[in-house]
């Protein structure tokens, strides 16, 4: 285990670096809280980092050694929680930043977890299923001493899925000589997964949009919504908003956007996506070049649920909306956010708006620990209770400190973690 540097390296410095934005936000929020230097350093530095070599016998008989990481950013509030990603560009700095992000996200929705993140440097497109399985099992065995339902609970992330989680759970269970489903979330339903998890982030986005609309005194039927992304977050979020009576005027995927000012028939749109794999070619709408162009359509709500850096200083002046609900991580840059604040656009930040996923992951962990599984209805109701309360919590902090919801979310999260840290004290 290596010592983590206290400050992010300078390579992360520009508008398009969401991790740098996070570091700036941390400092702004800490200033509002009057956080002392010592605690600032504690909360910016990961509690623990682990790097493991993963030797794997490849299908062609050769031996290859991969590198895996697990970073536990802060475990004062409970076991660490966070995804494991497999990608060629995984690096320790990114994993550190993402782990910290999880700490704040878990604290905003007040689930009893700290933040963690892991990754393996590999290119899954060039690996067979059996090679992926071997990597997963050896990586799990390598970091096993710091994992556990009460220590650190991984989840799927980029290029990892239900199957990866099943292998991880099996490996851990075999080592500890007992079935331990609560070691990981995002499992298949057949192995202790939770109902409602696939739709959780999209549902959370819909719930947060609903609460924000109330705050703006807007009714769903008066709202034109532009959604970027047509997958688990954007697609499902748009579908659920459509069901609530919103008019989804545009939705986009990586190939392009579609637009219908009278409102899209979302069930038909998603059926089309399921059939052909993309939005392109959907008849009842006008095709547009790309998702970024669609963001400039006149509307009341924008849900950017695709990738980071979609609303930037380049296009923010042309955005004509009243509400932005960040379904993706970091879709608005820090600079653009500031301009949106000045324009009076309400931006609900990512760590609140897309926390539905981690909330249902938390439910999965609770169910696994009990060994008793909830109906989908119960999962959805519990999710609604947490999302609504979290929105109110953040809105109250925003009012109290007279800051944007984004800064308020960080103030709330940092305050929650700092409070617990002070109560627990420094362990000898």
């Amino acid at each position: 285990m290596s010592q983590a540097p206290a400050v992010a390296p300078p390579s992360l410095a520009d508008e398009f670096n969401p991790f740098l934005s996070m570091a700036q936000l941390f400092n702004t929020a800490a200033d509002h809280l009057g956080l002392d230097e010592g605690l600032r350093e504690v909360l910016q530095r990961p509690d623990r980092e682990m790097t493991v070599a993963i030797p794997v016998q490849m299908d062609n008989g050769s031996l290859k050694v991969f590198t895996g990481y697990r970073v536990q950013h802060n475990f004062s509030r409970g076991p660490c929680k966070g995804g494991i990603r497999y990608a060629p560009d995984v690096n320790l700095d990114e994993v550190r930043a993402l782990a910290a992000w999880m700490t704040w996200k878990c604290a905003v929705v007040d689930v009893p977890f700290g933040g963690g993140k892991g990754g393996v440097i590999c290119d899954p497109r060039k690996l067979s299923q059996s090679e992926l399985e071997k990597i997963t099992r050896r990586y799990t065995a390598g970091i096993m001493d710091i994992l556990g339902p009460d220590r650190d609970v991984p989840a799927p992330d980029v290029n990892t899925n239900e199957q990866t989680m099943a292998w991880l759970m099996d490996t851990y269970s075999m080592h500890v000589r007992k079935t331990t489903t609560a070691i990981v979330t995002g499992k298949p339903i057949a192995l202790g997964g939770s109902h409602g998890r696939t739709e959780a982030t999209g549902r959370g986005v819909m719930l947060i949009a609903r609460e924000a609309m109330k705050k703006l005194n807007l009714r769903p039927q008066d709202a034109r919504v532009v959604v970027q992304g047509a997958g688990n977050v954007g697609g499902i979020g748009a579908m659920l908003m459509h069901r609530e009576g919103y008019k989804i005027v545009s939705i986009s995927d990586q190939y392009g956007a579609i637009y219908n000012e009278k409102g899209l028939d979302m069930p038909a749109v998603l059926a089309h996506v399921k059939k052909v794999g993309r939005l392109e070619g959907y008849k009842e709408a006008t095709a547009m070049k790309g998702g970024q162009e669609a963001l400039e359509l006149p509307c009341e709500v924008i849900v950017p649920a695709a990738t980071e850096n979609q609303i930037t200083t380049q296009n923010v002046e042309r955005i004509k909306t009243r509400l932005i609900v960040e379904g993706a991580n970091g879709p608005c840059t820090a600079k653009a956010s500031k301009i949106l604040d000045e324009k009076g656009v309400l931006v609900v930040p990512d760590i609140l708006a897309n926390a539905g996923g981690v909330t249902v992951s938390y439910f999965e962990w609770v169910q696994d620990r009990m060994g008793y599984f909830w109906s989908e209805e119960r999962v959805n109701n519990s999710l609604e209770a947490i999302m609504v309360k979290s929105f109110d919590d953040v809105a109250n902090v925003a009012q109290k400190y007279n800051v944007s919801m984004r800064i308020a979310a960080y103030i709330l999260a940092i305050d929650r973690v700092a409070t617990v840290y002070r109560l627990r004290g420094v362990f000898a």
Partner: protein
């Protein structure tokens, strides 16, 4: 006592018998035969199939125990753990003079399928001590059970293998199991065993769990058989915790119990029996032998063939055999005991248009409430009797719905559908987990 050779004489190859005759007397082969057919119909991957055909682990322990007269007896204990794909093992603890390894293997496999049908996150196991409890003092039984549990400590536990009560194991024995594990663990560990007394972490609704489970599947089963929701004429064989409790509940639901029996007496009245009165007399006299009332006093076997809409045999395996099946009038037969309808009899009944609800589903209430006990123990929070009842109803209804749907989709009888559902769930879990190391 039974000789050593009876256990060691069982060749391990018995786990893969060459013939799968459904009429085979060997319980393991019978269990595997239904499984084979279900696997076949599902087109199961041969690799997964191979895993499921053998128990994960078999443990045999030698138990030296001091008898009351100062001599030392060396008894034998067993635990078979069939499959852990879905979760910890779970299965009965049996204290029986004629305990056979092959029975335990069959039972362990059976428990895997039963849990899977009911969507309980457990795999199956079975075990016990070869000992006639009635021929020993309570002290001797207690020392034996405690020694048995100590010998298995590394293999049992709330997340490893959970005991449930069975032949000749009562609440008291379950309490000893809990105490032994707890003393070794240095903390109270009640989730390792189910069927405990209420004061030690037992659950409400344990005693009548099978009866309530039967009642829960009866409503949708009657609908499927085209029977009315009320006023259905029902014959129940058995008047104890299953048959008796069920009869009372069904009267409350507005049905007519036209036949009721225990080992000592069988009664029939086409206009309906006074169930409350009969059970009161039975409670007083210890059996139905001398019961008085308005009814025909007939033999148990004759009762099963009398006119009725629903027949619920809650007594022993093989009650409805081939010869009897041809005379049965009921449109719907719900197995209230394990194997109450023989395979040949079921075929005859099916040809005659009668519907048979299989034991693996209908008698599942017991396993469901045992599972609830484990959940409550882990949470350290007890549910009210009503919560137990409501959740039992939910589990039984969901299991029924899935079995019925699969039966219609695959055009197979309910028994085969239940087996297919179970095999599909377990093999899906095994496939997802993959082969470790």
């Amino acid at each position: 006592m039974i000789s050593e050779s009876e256990i060691h004489g069982v060749d391990y190859d018995d786990l893969a018998p060459n013939t799968h005759s459904v009429e085979d007397e060997n319980p393991f082969a019978t269990m595997m035969a239904s499984f084979d057919e279900a696997a076949d119909k599902l087109g199961l991957d041969p690799d997964v199939y191979a895993i499921l055909r053998k128990p994960d682990r078999e443990i045999q322990v030698s138990l030296p125990v001091h008898m009351d007269d100062g001599t030392l007896a060396v008894l034998e204990g067993f635990r078979v753990q069939h499959n852990a794909g879905l979760g910890p093992y779970f299965g009965p603890l049996r204290v029986q003079g004629a305990l056979k390894m092959d029975d335990l293997r069959a039972l362990a496999g059976w428990m895997t399928w039963k849990c899977a049908v009911l969507n309980i996150p457990f795999g199956g196991s079975a075990g016990g001590v070869r000992m006639s409890a009635s021929r020993h003092s309570r002290g001797e039984v207690e020392r034996t059970v405690r020694r048995y549990v100590s010998s298995l400590l590394h293999d049992v536990g709330p997340d490893r293998d959970i005991f449930s009560s069975d032949v000749a194991t009562d609440e008291k024995i379950m309490a000893w199991v809990m105490d032994t594990v707890s003393m070794h663990a240095r903390h109270t560990e009640n989730a390792v065993v189910c069927g405990k007394p209420l004061t030690l972490g037992g659950t409400y609704g344990h005693a009548d769990s099978v009866a309530q489970g039967l009642r829960a599947v009866l409503a949708p089963a009657m609908k499927l058989a085209g029977l009315d929701a009320k006023g259905v004429r029902i014959i129940i064989q058995g008047a104890g915790m299953r048959g008796g409790v069920l009869a009372q509940a069904l009267v409350q639901d507005g049905h007519k119990i036209v036949g009721l029996s225990d080992v000592h007496g069988a009664f029939y009245n086409e206009r309906g029996l006074d169930v409350a009165d009969l059970l009161k007399q039975r409670a007083g006299a210890g059996s139905l032998r001398g019961a008085k009332g308005t009814f025909d006093r007939i033999t148990n076997e004759e009762m099963l063939t009398r006119d009725c809409d629903v027949l619920i045999p809650c007594a022993v395996a093989g009650t409805i055999h081939l010869r009897l099946a041809r005379k049965i009038a009921a449109k719907l037969i719900v197995e209230g005991a394990h194997g109450a309808v023989s395979s040949r009899a079921e075929r005859v009944l099916a040809d005659r248009g009668s519907l048979v609800v299989p034991d693996i589903l209908s008698t599942g209430g017991g396993a469901v409430v045992n599972y609830f006990e484990w959940v409550q123990n882990r949470a350290g929070y007890s549910w009210t009797a009503k919560v137990v009842q409501d959740r039992l109803l939910r589990f039984m209804t969901e299991a029924w719905t899935e079995v019925e749907a699969l039966s219609q989709q695959q055009n197979v009888r309910l028994r085969m559908a239940a087996h297919m559902l179970a095999v599909r769930r377990v093999s899906q879990a095994d496939r997802l987990r993959g082969v470790y190391a």
